[in-house]
């Protein structure tokens, strides 16, 4: 019974922590521009991250190796360094985007200078990380992220034509470059690598072994599936409210309008609160992912559990990455724009970190009886193909659509 509760809580935390600023920005814009037509892209991305995360979690549990340990081992120093540099660059950009998002939400709640909130939010996050134990951080942000459920309530309250909504789950392509850009964006926002890298390092930190494999499966499948429903609800509420009147959600605050429309001030506060915790949690996850990856690749001591005394380089690198992210967030670039770049570049770098994991997960000499079975192998390779196609299309589409400007 106790283990069922533990697994359930893990799934709830995964659900609450699923969304980040990339998801919020891309789903809201996708709904406003294309109403329900991109719901299938969310599903595609959610299945992708479930597959990737399950493999990474399984590899971590069975071999004790997190992602960048696998990468250095399988790709060697040279190619692995490419993966590290790309990954670090994307992660720092992501942290900057999340910090910017945090500052915007705080502005909407308390109306003071954006730059002040960037600094305050960062300091706040450092304090939270310093004071709370590792598992506690995930739980706090995960449970509070459940405030985002107000968007599911909003969708139900709005009462859209569910037949039309269902139609959005049927994949459709168009030769509109802007549409294709959003396919890539919505997919990529769901499949952000930092989340999976953080998850795999977390598994090693928690000392996962083969007894955690079932939990790993459930986290990946149920947790992310529920998170996907949440992401879909963002498209639906945005599509219902914004599409008919042509609202263009280029500001983060716009995402909360549907909840405000449905449930007044309470809805607004729940939505803003939910966004705050999702984005805050994501800032922590992405900054940690950057440090995990660096330390693991170079062979340093690492881990939140080891503490700053035993893993000083890991700790300092985390603070340095945060500082870099703060500088980017304060540079005057709109956080929504930073978000779009971080998401698009993430999918471009994704094949580099996905491929080695796919190989190891199927390698019997490492995984023994836990290597990829028929289903995992097929799905794994299928998604690799999808990821490569999107990775190649991402930058051209970004340039051709002028960053989603149309």
């Amino acid at each position: 019974m106790k283990s069922v509760l533990k697994i359930a809580l893990g799934i709830i935390a995964a659900l609450g922590g699923f969304l980040d600023i990339g998801d919020i920005v891309f789903t809201t814009q996708a709904g406003a521009l294309y109403r329900y037509d991109l719901l299938w892209a969310v599903v595609l991305g959610v299945v992708g991250i479930a597959i990737y995360a399950e493999m990474c979690g399984r590899v971590a549990a069975v071999t004790g190796r997190p992602v960048f340990d696998v990468i250095r081992m399988r790709m060697g120093f040279g190619l692995g360094l490419v993966a590290l540099v790309a990954s670090t660059f994307v992660n720092v950009l992501t942290v900057a985007a999340e910090l910017g998002g945090l500052a915007i939400v705080l502005q909407l709640l308390f109306d003071a200078e954006y730059s002040l909130f960037v600094v305050l939010a960062t300091v706040g996050l450092v304090i939270v990380v310093a004071l709370l134990p590792f598992g506690g951080i995930e739980r706090v942000f995960g449970y509070c992220g459940l405030l985002m459920l107000v968007f599911i309530a909003t969708a139900i309250h709005q009462g859209p034509d569910w037949g039309e909504v269902a139609h959005g789950f049927v994949p459709s392509l168009s030769d509109s470059k802007l549409y294709l850009y959003f396919v890539v964006g919505v997919f990529a926002a769901a499949l952000m690598p930092y989340e999976v890298h953080f998850y795999s390092s977390g598994a090693v930190e928690e000392g996962w072994d083969e007894s955690n494999l079932r939990e790993n499966r459930l986290n990946a499948i149920v947790g992310y599936a529920l998170g996907g429903i949440l992401a879909c609800s963002l498209i639906v509420v945005s599509g219902f409210l914004f599409h008919p009147v042509g609202v263009d959600p280029t500001d983060l605050g716009t995402a909360a309008l549907p909840a405000q429309g449905a449930f007044g001030e309470t809805g607004l506060l729940l939505a803003l609160g939910g966004i705050l915790f999702c984005v805050g949690g994501a800032a922590i996850d992405s900054s940690f992912a950057a440090s995990y990856n660096l330390a693991q690749f170079l062979g340093w001591e690492w881990g939140r559990y080891r503490g700053p005394k035993k893993a000083p380089r890991f700790t300092v690198s985390w603070l340095v990455f945060l500082a870099l992210a703060v500088m980017i967030a304060l540079s005057g670039i709109n956080p929504v724009e930073i978000t779009e770049y971080s998401v698009v570049l993430a999918v471009v770098a994704l094949p580099l970190t996905y491929f080695p994991i796919l190989m190891i997960a199927g390698d019997r000499s490492f995984m023994r009886e836990h290597a990829n079975g028929m289903v995992s192998t097929t799905l794994g390779w299928l998604y690799f193909a999808v990821i490569v196609v999107l990775a190649l299309a991402a930058i051209p589409l970004l340039l051709m659509t002028n960053g989603g400007g149309g």
């Binding site: 709640l109 109306d111 263009d248 716009t254 309008l257 429309g261 007044g264 607004l268 506060l269």
Partner: protein
């Protein structure tokens, strides 16, 4: 080299084509639509004043930016009338958002702004129709 520089220079400082103007007016329509939603929340006392104030400031800034962009540009002669209308609309939008910024909690003001935003949106949509309609 000089010819190239001149070419780039003139195309930069704004021959406003029909397409560009159209996009500008569409974005004004979008801003008005959002303004209407936000004002509606104020009118029903169903929102938080800090949210209204900050959003109004941001969106008002965007309207002003669009107004400046359109006013600075050189319109091609057949869209000059529409360009002037667009600049006026953008200015009105900026004023309305400024109202919301100043009175973010006042329901009466919210109601007035909501109605006005609706009218401004209709005006913008009419300009879009004139621009795209004339093309056909």
């Amino acid at each position: 080299m000089l010819a190239l520089a001149l070419l780039l220079g003139t195309s930069g400082c704004g021959d406003l084509s029909r397409d560009e103007l159209n996009r500008g007016v569409e974005s004004l329509s979008a801003l008005a639509a959002q303004g209407e939603l936000i004002a509606s929340g104020v009118a029903r006392d169903a929102t938080k004043s800090t949210y209204t104030r900050v959003m109004a400031k941001t969106l008002g800034g965007e309207a002003e930016h669009e107004a400046e962009k359109l006013a600075d540009a050189e319109p091609s002669p057949e869209v000059e009338r529409e360009r002037d209308a667009a600049v006026q609309i953008a200015g009105e939008l900026a004023d309305l958002f400024s109202e919301l910024q100043t009175f973010p909690g006042d329901e009466r003001h919210g109601e007035l702004v909501e109605k006005q935003m609706g009218k401004v949106k209709e005006q913008a949509d009419a300009v879009v129709e004139r621009l795209t309609g004339e093309e056909a």
